[in-house]
Symmetry: C2
Subunit: 331 residues, 2 copies
């Protein structure tokens, strides 16, 4: 296992220490709880936004803390959920006078713990709600959409909800746009190389030298299909076909495109992928309003990428364009 780490069991603590040293002007850690918050929470007149999940997806989650984005993040061990207590601490820390919305990916551990945290918060009279992101087309049929995992689409949902919350809108309104952004987002990933969770020391999956996995999850979960590695255009077409038919996206639609590197895949390759995406969408008369190309939700050093389309209307476009000052995401 070749990694630049110290103790495999301390990677999250040491990474967190690094974040706090680097960004102490913008974030702080809650006393006694592995929760990172915007330095100025609770913010009066604003719905508090909470996210969180396992570590290993940097810049997700901490990188999205900031003005016009997320206010608090519960930090789990690598690829495992934070506790209910952590989510509760996060909710409490950002609760001012307009309630709190939790926005996170659909993983059973996270869902269970946020549910418990919300119960605890409600018992104290805190107004709290949630939007569970489930954009991953590779993780279940359309009929069981509610069981799908949440992957790179989370970034779009945080951005949209963050912008709405920054305007001082109420909890119902922030939830409404977050749900719209989630419903309108579809993602599909592919990988040719696994990652290694430090404490496990073993690759999350194995693929032959000429194989790739279509529909892979951001923790290396099995996807839809293993097949021989194909050229980038063909691979991207496979992903796009599934995404486009799922919403479905139609001629005349306007979308945002997010090409997300899963870790080891060079930007050079992501732009080759974007080229194919842009040309294909043009052929289908779907116009790209905004594009994001880079590493947004990674899986340690996994080799692969995902493609996310979000169907936009006037409201979502304005919210996407609104200012955002995250640690690692700026608009």
């Amino acid at each position: 296992m070749k990694k630049f780490i110290n103790d495999p069991d301390k990677v999250v603590d040491e990474m967190l220490e690094g974040f706090l040293l680097a960004h102490s002007d913008k974030i702080k850690k809650l006393e006694g709880s592995r929760v990172v918050v915007r330095k100025d929470v609770p913010i009066k007149g604003k719905v508090g936004l909470v996210s969180g999940g396992g570590s290993g997806h940097k810049p997700t989650f901490i990188g999205y803390i900031g003005r016009g984005l997320v206010d608090a993040v519960a930090v789990g061990e690598v690829f495992s959920s934070p506790s209910a207590q952590q989510f509760y601490d996060a909710i409490k820390a950002v609760n001012a006078d307009k309630g709190v919305l939790c926005i996170y990916g659909n993983y059973s551990g996270d869902v269970m713990n946020v549910d418990m945290a919300m119960e605890m918060a409600k018992d104290e009279g805190i107004q709290v709600d949630q939007v569970i992101v489930n954009d991953d087309v590779g993780s279940g049929s359309k009929e069981e959409r509610q069981n799908r995992r949440g992957v790179a689409g989370q970034v779009i949902v945080w951005k949209i909800a963050g912008a709405k919350a920054a305007k001082g809108e109420n909890l119902e309104e922030v939830k409404r746009v977050a749900e719209k952004a989630n419903f309108n987002s579809r993602t599909m990933g592919v990988a040719h190389s696994p990652c290694i969770v430090p404490s496990a020391g073993e690759p999350t999956f194995t693929l032959a030298e000429d194989e790739m996995e279509i529909g892979v999850g951001e923790h290396g979960e099995r996807g839809l299909k293993r097949m021989p590695l194909k050229p980038a255009d063909e691979t991207t077409q496979i992903l796009m076909d599934r995404i486009l038919e799922d919403l479905p996206f139609a001629s005349g639609d306007e979308v945002s495109v997010l090409i997300n590197g899963l870790g080891a895949t060079p930007l050079l390759e992501l732009y080759i992928v974007y080229r194919k995406v842009a040309n294909t969408l043009k052929e289908r008369n779907i116009s790209i309003y905004k594009s994001y190309i880079g590493e947004y939700v990674t899986s340690l050093e996994m080799g692969g990428y995902s493609v996310t389309f979000t169907k936009l209307d006037e409201e979502l476009k304005k919210l996407l364009d609104a200012p955002a000052k995250g640690i690692m995401f700026k608009e």
Copy 2:
């Protein structure tokens, strides 16, 4: 060779097409030359800034085109220099009324081609000069500093010079601050895994399962030493010791810190490295004015990172803080 590409001989053209499709609001390609420029060049009243080099280092070079940064980039094949003609085309495209400065890394091919391009430009009466960045402590002794390679320190030099040029200062002044930023910058890298140049299909180097290379170059050039892989803190200490004694950096200094991922190394690890750097600098009474942590100058999917310190004075601090609107670098 597991890569998401189409034809190995077309990766640069296809990547470039992707960039132009994604960022057509900010950049354009020169007709008939593989040169990418800010859409609004030539810009009256501003020194034009040109860079360029081999591809495979994204976000370097194209990602740094923008307001307060670089104006034109000559785009070479993967890990090989653009031609003299390309650099000449770039110089010509950005030349308005205050001359042009070329800022790029010290590699013999690039130096030869920029020299030729500058001669061609001067023959046409264009005022042009250059700063050759040589921040890589791992590539030669202090006595032969002029032979050292240019690596991640380029980012700092572009930022400083870009800010100075944006103020409308003259060529001598822009060159002066660029030289100061270069002289004050020291970088050292380490890698545990190679990258593969698409057209070659072979790893740039091989290391045993427990080895790392200290002082590695951004194209996989041999460094100072191979040794068994050590914990992140120890590895980082080795890099820092060389960097600190080289300038030398001293108690009371203020610096910027750039922890640069070379490709496959997760952000989680880069923050563990930053933790060590920040704690060590504190012990030595060197204060961090600004820090950059992420992928700034990569080497395709190489596994490794580099550490760059730049000694700052009041002038450099102001220039670092000035606004910048690059495609992939914002301040």
